[in-house]
Assembly symmetry: C5
Homo-oligomer: 169 residues x 5
C-alpha cells in the first residue's frame, strides 16, 4: 500500500484533482489517496510538503496557469518551489500543469487536461509500483496530453491520443 | 484559536494590512491577528518567518509592486522568497500582490486591492478552519479581485465582482 | 544597544557605506556599526551572513549596479542571494541598490544615492527600534530616493525630496 | 569501485541512458552503474538525490528538452534543481542536456546526442578516477557533442567530431 | 597561512586557473593553493563546496561562458549556484567569469581574461589578509579587467588598464 497526495487548485478551470484520483484508482494499484485543494499554484509547494508529512510517498501537484504573461511567471515560481519541496523531503512530486494558452477553446482545454492528468497518473503509478515500465520507455519521446513525439529517426509513434489538438507554442 | 500573521509594506499605496485584518475578523473565525509593516516587498519573506516564529499558523504577505519593469523583477524575487520561507517552516503563506499596472487609475486600484485582499483573507480562513470549502471549489476557476473565470465549458460564473475592471495584461 | 552590519562594494561609484553609517548615527539610536567592503554586489550575500555571525541584528547591504544588461542580471542574482541569506539566519537585510541607469548624470547619481541610502538607514532604525513608525506608514506609497508615490486616491504626498530627478524607467 | 547513477527520461527521443551506460563501461573503469528512468527533466533532481542515497558517487542526469519556448523554461528549472541537489549532497551531477532545437533533423539529433553523451561519460570517468585528465584540459575550450572551440589564440583544435553539425544558436 | 581553492573549467578557452594561481603567488601572501578543473561552469558550485570541505578559506571559481544565448542562461544558473554554495558554508567565493562576447577577437579575450583574473586574485588576497584595502576602495568604481569607472563626479580614474577594449554590452 502506497499513499499518493493529490493537490489541486480552485484557480484551475478543470477539476484536475478528481481526474487524477479516478485515474490512480483505475491503475488497480494498492493506493491510498490523500486530497487537498489550495487557492492557486503558488500554494502547491507548501501543500505538497504537508501531504508528505502526512505520509504521502509521492505527490501529484496539479494546476492550470492562465493566459497572461504574469501567469507564466507564477507557474515558473511554482515549478521551482515544487522542485525545492521534492529536494527537501527527497520524494517525487509529479507536476501536472495545463496552460490555458496551450489550446484555443474550452472543449480542447478539458480534453487536454483530462488526457495529461490521466497519463501523469499512470506515470505516478509506474514510479511507485513498476519503475521498469518507465525504464522500457526511456528515450521513446513520451508526451502527456499530446501524441508522443516518438524516438528520433522513427516514424513518429503515438502512445496516446493523436487527435490534432494544437501543439503548445 | 489560530494566529494569522499579516505583513504589509510602506511602499504600497493602499493599506492592505488593514483591509486584510478587517476581512479576517469578518469571517467570524477564532483568529488572533499579528501585524507587521516592512518597507517593501523584498522584506516580506524574512518578516513572514519572524511572524511564524512568533506563533503564526499562516501568514498573509501583502504588497503592491509599481509599474516599472524593475518592480516586476522585485515582485518575482519576493515571490520566490515567500515560497522558500513557507518551505522552510512548512506552513502556508498567502501572497497577495496587487500590481499598479493591473488597472489604469487610482480608483480602480483601490477597488481591486480591497477585493483581492478580502477574497484572499477568505481563502486564508478556509485554509485554517474549513479546508472543505476549498475542496468544493477545486477546478472552478476562482479568481481574487476580478470576476471568477469559472469552470471550463460553463457559461462563466461570477463568484465576486463582475464590474468590468480591466483584466490584467 | 543594537548592532547594524553595513556592507558595501568597491564597484559602487559612491561611498554608500559611509553615507549609511553617518545616517544611522544621525538617528540617535543606540547603534553599534560594523562595516565591511567587498568587491561587488554578488559578494554581498555571504558577507551579510558573516556580519550576522559577528553579531549584527540587521544588515544594510549596499550596491550600485552598472548600466549594462548583464549588470541587471548580477543585481537579480545578488537580490535572490540576499533574501536567501536573510531566510537562513531569520534576520532582516535592508537591500539598498542604486542603479546607474536610474539617472542621467553623475550629479543626480550622487544625490539619488545619498537620499535613498539615508531613507533606508531610517527604515533600518525603525525596524530595530520603532516598528510602529513603519506601521503608521503602511500603504502610504513610501519611496526611497524619489518623492513618495503617496496613498492611492490622494494628491500625491511627498515625504522626502520632490526635486524632479528622472523617475526610474 | 565507484558507483555512477544514470538517470534519463521517457520524454527524450534518444535513449541517452543506454548510451551513457555503454560509454561508462567502455572507459574500462571499475564502475558499478545504477540506472533509473523518470518521465521528464523536472523529475531529474529528486531522482538524482535518490541515486545518491542508494550509493552513487556521481550522477549523470540526461534529458532532451523540446523545441518550444516553454521547454527551455523547464530545462532552466531542471538545471537549477540539479545544482541544488548536488549542493545538498555535495557530490557531482554531470548534466547532459541535448536540445532538439540544436539541430535540424532527426539524424543529426541522434548523432549529437550520442557524441555529447559519450564525451560527458568520459568527463564523469575522469572526475571519479583521473582528475588530472581534466586538469590537463583546463582552458582548452573543450566542447561536448560539437568540435572543441580550442584555446584562445590557437588554430581551433578539434578533440572530437568536426563534422559540420549546425552550432547551437 | 590561508588556503585558496582555485577551480576552473575545460570549457574555458583560456587557462584561467593558472593565471589565478600565479597572481595569488605574486601577492606574496602566505597562501596554499588547491586546484581543481571541472568540465563546465555548472560544475563549479559543487566543486567549490568540495574545495571548502578540503580546507579552503576562500574559493576562486573561474569560467568562460560562450557567445550563445544559452551560454548566458548557464552562466546565470552557475552564478546562483555559487552564491548558494557560499551561503551554505558561509565562506566567500570569488566568481571570475569572462564572457566570450565581451570582446571581438581572441587577442582581446586573452588580455581581458588575464587582467580580470589577476585583479580578482588581488581582491581574494585582500579579502583574506588585508580587508582594509577593500574598505579604502569603497565606492571608488573599481572594475576588474576594464579601466575603473571611478567615483561619481570625479574625472574617471583608472586603476588598471585603460586600453580601449570594447566595453561589455
Amino acid at each position: 500500500m502506497k499513499t499518493v497526495g493529490v493537490v489541486d487548485t480552485a484557480f484551475s478551470r478543470v477539476n484536475l484533482g478528481s481526474i487524477a484520483a479516478r485515474a490512480l484508482r483505475d491503475t488497480g494499484g494498492s493506493i491510498r489517496i490523500q486530497r487537498k485543494t489550495v487557492p492557486g499554484i503558488k500554494d502547491l509547494p507548501v501543500a505538497s510538503l504537508t501531504l508528505f508529512r502526512e505520509g504521502a510517498d509521492l505527490v501529484m501537484a496539479l494546476g492550470m496557469p492562465g493566459r497572461a504573461e504574469y501567469d507564466k511567471v507564477c507557474a515558473h515560481e511554482a515549478s521551482q518551489g515544487l522542485i525545492a519541496a521534492g529536494l527537501k523531503v527527497e520524494r517525487p512530486i509529479v507536476e501536472v500543469f495545463v496552460f490555458e494558452g496551450e489550446v484555443e477553446n474550452d472543449r480542447d482545454l478539458s480534453e487536454l487536461a483530462r488526457r495529461r492528468t490521466e497519463e501523469h497518473a499512470l506515470n505516478a503509478y509506474w514510479m511507485l509500483f513498476r519503475p521498469e515500465e518507465l525504464s522500457h520507455r526511456a528515450g521513446t519521446g513520451a508526451r502527456q496530453g499530446f501524441p508522443d513525439a516518438g524516438p528520433s529517426g522513427s516514424h513518429r509513434r503515438k502512445r496516446g491520443f493523436g487527435n490534432g489538438i494544437a501543439k503548445y507554442a
